[in-house]
Symmetry: C2
Subunit: 125 residues, 2 copies
DNA sequence: TTGGATTGCTATGTTTTTGATAGCAGAGGG
DNA sequence: CCCTCTGCTATCAAAAACATAGCAATCCAA
Protein backbone atom coordinates (compact mmCIF):
# COMPACT_ATOMS: atom_id res chain seq x y z
CA UNK A 1 0.00 0.00 0.00
CA UNK A 2 2.11 2.84 1.27
CA UNK A 3 5.78 2.54 2.08
CA UNK A 4 5.39 0.93 5.44
CA UNK A 5 8.55 -0.85 6.59
CA UNK A 6 7.27 -4.41 6.82
CA UNK A 7 9.59 -6.86 8.51
CA UNK A 8 10.63 -9.38 5.91
CA UNK A 9 10.71 -6.86 3.12
CA UNK A 10 13.63 -4.59 2.33
CA UNK A 11 13.77 -1.69 4.76
CA UNK A 12 16.33 0.89 5.64
CA UNK A 13 19.21 -0.97 7.22
CA UNK A 14 18.30 -4.42 6.02
CA UNK A 15 17.61 -5.82 2.60
CA UNK A 16 16.07 -8.87 4.19
CA UNK A 17 13.88 -6.80 6.48
CA UNK A 18 15.20 -7.72 9.89
CA UNK A 19 12.46 -6.79 12.34
CA UNK A 20 14.76 -4.56 14.35
CA UNK A 21 15.67 -2.57 11.28
CA UNK A 22 12.07 -2.38 10.18
CA UNK A 23 11.19 -0.98 13.57
CA UNK A 24 14.01 1.53 13.38
CA UNK A 25 12.78 2.54 9.96
CA UNK A 26 9.31 3.15 11.33
CA UNK A 27 10.41 4.96 14.48
CA UNK A 28 13.07 6.85 12.59
CA UNK A 29 10.43 8.85 10.81
CA UNK A 30 9.89 12.36 11.93
CA UNK A 31 7.56 12.65 14.89
CA UNK A 32 6.94 8.92 15.12
CA UNK A 33 8.31 8.52 18.63
CA UNK A 34 6.93 11.85 19.73
CA UNK A 35 3.41 10.97 18.65
CA UNK A 36 3.51 7.60 20.34
CA UNK A 37 4.96 9.21 23.42
CA UNK A 38 2.28 11.86 23.62
CA UNK A 39 -0.46 9.33 23.20
CA UNK A 40 0.93 7.15 25.94
CA UNK A 41 1.64 10.00 28.31
CA UNK A 42 -1.55 11.95 27.87
CA UNK A 43 -3.99 9.17 27.09
CA UNK A 44 -6.47 8.81 24.26
CA UNK A 45 -7.33 12.00 22.43
CA UNK A 46 -8.59 13.51 19.22
CA UNK A 47 -6.55 14.28 16.17
CA UNK A 48 -6.54 17.95 17.00
CA UNK A 49 -5.67 17.43 20.61
CA UNK A 50 -2.79 15.25 19.56
CA UNK A 51 -1.69 17.90 17.15
CA UNK A 52 -1.77 20.36 19.99
CA UNK A 53 0.26 18.14 22.28
CA UNK A 54 2.93 17.91 19.66
CA UNK A 55 3.12 21.68 19.64
CA UNK A 56 4.23 22.17 16.09
CA UNK A 57 3.34 19.21 13.92
CA UNK A 58 1.47 19.85 10.70
CA UNK A 59 -1.76 17.94 10.05
CA UNK A 60 -0.34 16.34 6.94
CA UNK A 61 2.60 14.85 8.78
CA UNK A 62 0.54 13.90 11.81
CA UNK A 63 -1.87 12.13 9.56
CA UNK A 64 0.98 10.38 7.83
CA UNK A 65 2.53 9.26 11.11
CA UNK A 66 -0.82 8.11 12.44
CA UNK A 67 -1.25 6.00 9.34
CA UNK A 68 2.17 4.48 9.91
CA UNK A 69 1.48 3.76 13.55
CA UNK A 70 -1.93 2.30 12.85
CA UNK A 71 -0.56 0.15 10.10
CA UNK A 72 2.11 -0.90 12.55
CA UNK A 73 -0.57 -1.92 15.03
CA UNK A 74 0.80 0.50 17.59
CA UNK A 75 -2.10 2.94 17.59
CA UNK A 76 -5.80 2.56 17.02
CA UNK A 77 -8.78 4.82 16.59
CA UNK A 78 -11.67 4.17 18.96
CA UNK A 79 -14.69 6.11 20.13
CA UNK A 80 -12.38 7.70 22.69
CA UNK A 81 -10.17 8.96 19.91
CA UNK A 82 -6.65 7.84 19.08
CA UNK A 83 -4.94 5.65 21.57
CA UNK A 84 -2.03 3.25 21.77
CA UNK A 85 -2.73 -0.43 21.33
CA UNK A 86 -1.45 -3.01 23.75
CA UNK A 87 1.54 -3.43 21.47
CA UNK A 88 2.00 0.31 21.32
CA UNK A 89 2.04 0.52 25.07
CA UNK A 90 4.67 -2.17 25.26
CA UNK A 91 6.83 -0.20 22.89
CA UNK A 92 6.18 3.03 24.74
CA UNK A 93 7.28 1.33 27.91
CA UNK A 94 10.65 0.83 26.27
CA UNK A 95 10.73 4.53 25.53
CA UNK A 96 10.31 5.53 29.14
CA UNK A 97 13.99 5.09 30.06
CA UNK A 98 14.84 7.45 27.24
CA UNK A 99 13.36 10.25 29.23
CA UNK A 100 15.64 9.64 32.15
CA UNK A 101 18.63 9.20 29.88
CA UNK A 102 17.76 12.43 28.14
CA UNK A 103 18.23 14.34 31.40
CA UNK A 104 21.73 12.98 31.83
CA UNK A 105 22.46 13.56 28.20
CA UNK A 106 21.32 17.17 28.41
CA UNK A 107 23.63 17.71 31.37
CA UNK A 108 26.60 16.36 29.45
CA UNK A 109 25.79 18.52 26.48
CA UNK A 110 25.59 21.56 28.69
CA UNK A 111 28.88 20.82 30.34
CA UNK A 112 30.56 20.29 27.05
CA UNK A 113 29.14 23.49 25.67
CA UNK A 114 30.23 25.47 28.68
CA UNK A 115 33.69 24.02 28.33
CA UNK A 116 33.72 24.91 24.68
CA UNK A 117 32.56 28.36 25.61
CA UNK A 118 35.39 28.75 28.11
CA UNK A 119 37.88 27.58 25.53
CA UNK A 120 36.54 30.17 23.16
CA UNK A 121 36.80 32.78 25.89
CA UNK A 122 40.37 31.82 26.64
CA UNK A 123 41.26 32.06 23.02
CA UNK A 124 40.33 35.70 23.26
CA UNK A 125 42.96 36.38 25.91
CA UNK B 1 26.22 25.45 14.16
CA UNK B 2 24.04 23.04 12.26
CA UNK B 3 20.51 22.19 13.26
CA UNK B 4 21.37 19.95 16.13
CA UNK B 5 18.45 19.53 18.54
CA UNK B 6 19.95 21.01 21.68
CA UNK B 7 17.96 20.48 24.83
CA UNK B 8 16.81 23.86 26.02
CA UNK B 9 16.31 25.18 22.52
CA UNK B 10 13.17 24.69 20.45
CA UNK B 11 13.08 21.23 18.98
CA UNK B 12 10.46 19.09 17.34
CA UNK B 13 7.87 18.37 19.96
CA UNK B 14 8.87 21.06 22.40
CA UNK B 15 9.32 24.77 22.03
CA UNK B 16 11.18 24.86 25.32
CA UNK B 17 13.48 22.02 24.29
CA UNK B 18 12.55 19.32 26.76
CA UNK B 19 15.48 16.88 26.75
CA UNK B 20 13.25 13.94 25.89
CA UNK B 21 11.92 15.70 22.83
CA UNK B 22 15.39 16.83 21.83
CA UNK B 23 16.52 13.23 22.02
CA UNK B 24 13.55 12.08 19.96
CA UNK B 25 14.37 14.74 17.43
CA UNK B 26 17.92 13.46 17.15
CA UNK B 27 17.04 9.78 17.07
CA UNK B 28 14.08 10.42 14.82
CA UNK B 29 16.38 11.28 11.97
CA UNK B 30 16.84 8.73 9.29
CA UNK B 31 19.42 6.11 10.11
CA UNK B 32 20.29 7.64 13.47
CA UNK B 33 19.29 4.61 15.51
CA UNK B 34 20.56 2.22 12.89
CA UNK B 35 24.00 3.77 12.86
CA UNK B 36 24.29 3.77 16.62
CA UNK B 37 23.04 0.21 16.70
CA UNK B 38 25.56 -0.99 14.16
CA UNK B 39 28.41 0.69 15.96
CA UNK B 40 27.42 -0.87 19.25
CA UNK B 41 26.78 -4.30 17.83
CA UNK B 42 29.79 -4.59 15.58
CA UNK B 43 32.28 -2.48 17.47
CA UNK B 44 34.52 0.32 16.28
CA UNK B 45 34.98 0.57 12.54
CA UNK B 46 35.81 2.81 9.63
CA UNK B 47 33.44 5.06 7.78
CA UNK B 48 33.25 2.64 4.90
CA UNK B 49 32.81 -0.39 7.08
CA UNK B 50 29.98 1.38 8.84
CA UNK B 51 28.47 2.25 5.51
CA UNK B 52 28.68 -1.38 4.58
CA UNK B 53 27.04 -2.53 7.78
CA UNK B 54 24.13 -0.24 7.07
CA UNK B 55 23.71 -1.95 3.72
CA UNK B 56 22.20 0.94 1.85
CA UNK B 57 23.06 4.26 3.41
CA UNK B 58 24.59 6.92 1.21
CA UNK B 59 27.84 8.55 2.30
CA UNK B 60 26.20 11.95 2.46
CA UNK B 61 23.57 10.82 4.93
CA UNK B 62 25.98 8.69 6.91
CA UNK B 63 28.27 11.63 7.23
CA UNK B 64 25.40 13.79 8.31
CA UNK B 65 24.25 11.31 10.94
CA UNK B 66 27.78 10.82 12.21
CA UNK B 67 28.03 14.56 12.68
CA UNK B 68 24.79 14.54 14.62
CA UNK B 69 25.87 11.68 16.81
CA UNK B 70 29.28 13.15 17.46
CA UNK B 71 27.78 16.50 18.28
CA UNK B 72 25.43 14.64 20.57
CA UNK B 73 28.40 13.05 22.33
CA UNK B 74 27.15 9.61 21.43
CA UNK B 75 29.87 8.66 18.96
CA UNK B 76 33.53 9.55 18.69
CA UNK B 77 36.30 9.07 16.17
CA UNK B 78 39.44 7.45 17.50
CA UNK B 79 42.42 5.70 15.99
CA UNK B 80 40.28 2.56 15.96
CA UNK B 81 37.73 4.34 13.83
CA UNK B 82 34.24 5.38 14.81
CA UNK B 83 32.90 4.06 18.05
CA UNK B 84 30.20 4.80 20.57
CA UNK B 85 31.08 6.91 23.57
CA UNK B 86 30.21 5.85 27.09
CA UNK B 87 27.05 7.88 26.75
CA UNK B 88 26.33 6.31 23.39
CA UNK B 89 26.65 2.86 24.89
CA UNK B 90 24.23 3.75 27.63
CA UNK B 91 21.74 4.84 25.04
CA UNK B 92 22.35 1.79 22.91
CA UNK B 93 21.66 -0.34 25.96
CA UNK B 94 18.18 1.14 26.00
CA UNK B 95 17.84 0.17 22.39
CA UNK B 96 18.52 -3.49 23.02
CA UNK B 97 14.97 -4.34 24.16
CA UNK B 98 13.72 -2.94 20.89
CA UNK B 99 15.21 -5.88 19.13
CA UNK B 100 13.27 -8.33 21.22
CA UNK B 101 10.12 -6.29 20.88
CA UNK B 102 10.60 -6.15 17.13
CA UNK B 103 10.35 -9.92 16.93
CA UNK B 104 7.01 -9.94 18.68
CA UNK B 105 5.89 -7.01 16.61
CA UNK B 106 6.84 -8.76 13.39
CA UNK B 107 4.80 -11.76 14.44
CA UNK B 108 1.75 -9.65 15.08
CA UNK B 109 2.13 -7.92 11.75
CA UNK B 110 2.38 -11.24 10.01
CA UNK B 111 -0.68 -12.61 11.72
CA UNK B 112 -2.62 -9.52 10.87
CA UNK B 113 -1.53 -9.67 7.28
CA UNK B 114 -2.39 -13.32 6.96
CA UNK B 115 -5.82 -12.56 8.40
CA UNK B 116 -6.22 -9.72 5.97
CA UNK B 117 -5.11 -12.02 3.21
CA UNK B 118 -7.69 -14.59 4.22
CA UNK B 119 -10.35 -11.93 4.33
CA UNK B 120 -9.37 -10.89 0.86
CA UNK B 121 -9.48 -14.51 -0.26
CA UNK B 122 -12.90 -14.95 1.22
CA UNK B 123 -14.13 -11.90 -0.55
CA UNK B 124 -13.34 -13.72 -3.74
CA UNK B 125 -15.71 -16.57 -2.95
C1' DT C 1 59.55 7.32 -5.35
C1' DT C 2 55.92 5.75 -7.12
C1' DG C 3 51.89 3.16 -8.03
C1' DG C 4 48.16 1.11 -5.80
C1' DA C 5 44.65 0.56 -2.09
C1' DT C 6 42.11 2.57 1.68
C1' DT C 7 39.81 6.17 4.10
C1' DG C 8 36.90 10.00 4.85
C1' DC C 9 34.52 12.41 2.90
C1' DT C 10 32.37 16.30 -0.94
C1' DA C 11 29.74 17.45 -5.35
C1' DT C 12 25.77 17.05 -8.09
C1' DG C 13 21.34 16.24 -9.60
C1' DT C 14 16.95 13.86 -8.46
C1' DT C 15 13.38 12.21 -5.57
C1' DT C 16 10.99 12.03 -0.98
C1' DT C 17 9.69 13.79 2.98
C1' DT C 18 8.41 17.60 5.85
C1' DG C 19 6.58 21.90 6.79
C1' DA C 20 3.13 25.82 6.58
C1' DT C 21 -1.23 27.20 5.62
C1' DA C 22 -5.89 27.05 3.93
C1' DG C 23 -9.91 24.92 3.79
C1' DC C 24 -13.46 21.17 3.07
C1' DA C 25 -16.93 17.52 4.30
C1' DG C 26 -19.39 15.01 7.83
C1' DA C 27 -21.38 14.51 12.56
C1' DG C 28 -23.57 16.40 16.21
C1' DG C 29 -26.06 20.14 19.10
C1' DG C 30 -29.05 23.96 19.77
C1' DC D 1 -30.50 25.98 9.73
C1' DC D 2 -26.29 27.57 11.82
C1' DC D 3 -22.32 26.75 14.50
C1' DT D 4 -18.68 23.95 16.34
C1' DC D 5 -15.79 20.17 16.47
C1' DT D 6 -13.55 16.56 14.06
C1' DG D 7 -10.64 14.35 10.79
C1' DC D 8 -8.66 15.07 7.52
C1' DT D 9 -7.04 16.72 2.08
C1' DA D 10 -4.89 20.24 -1.16
C1' DT D 11 -1.29 23.05 -2.39
C1' DC D 12 3.07 24.84 -2.64
C1' DA D 13 7.67 25.72 -0.67
C1' DA D 14 11.66 24.07 1.78
C1' DA D 15 14.47 20.68 3.68
C1' DA D 16 16.20 16.13 3.93
C1' DA D 17 17.48 11.93 1.87
C1' DC D 18 19.12 9.12 -2.12
C1' DA D 19 22.26 7.55 -5.86
C1' DT D 20 26.33 8.03 -7.97
C1' DA D 21 30.79 9.85 -9.11
C1' DG D 22 34.93 11.14 -7.65
C1' DC D 23 38.64 13.72 -5.03
C1' DA D 24 42.43 14.63 -1.54
C1' DA D 25 45.01 12.66 2.08
C1' DT D 26 47.17 8.88 3.99
C1' DC D 27 49.54 4.46 4.04
C1' DC D 28 52.18 0.78 2.34
C1' DA D 29 54.82 -2.22 -0.34
C1' DA D 30 57.83 -2.57 -4.34
Amino acid sequence: MTNFPYPGKPVRGSKTGKPTMALFDLLGRRWAMGVLWQLCQGGACTFRELQSRCESISPAVLNSRIKDLRQGLLVEHTSDGYQPTELGQQLAALLLPFSEFAQVWATHLNEQNQATQKDADNECD
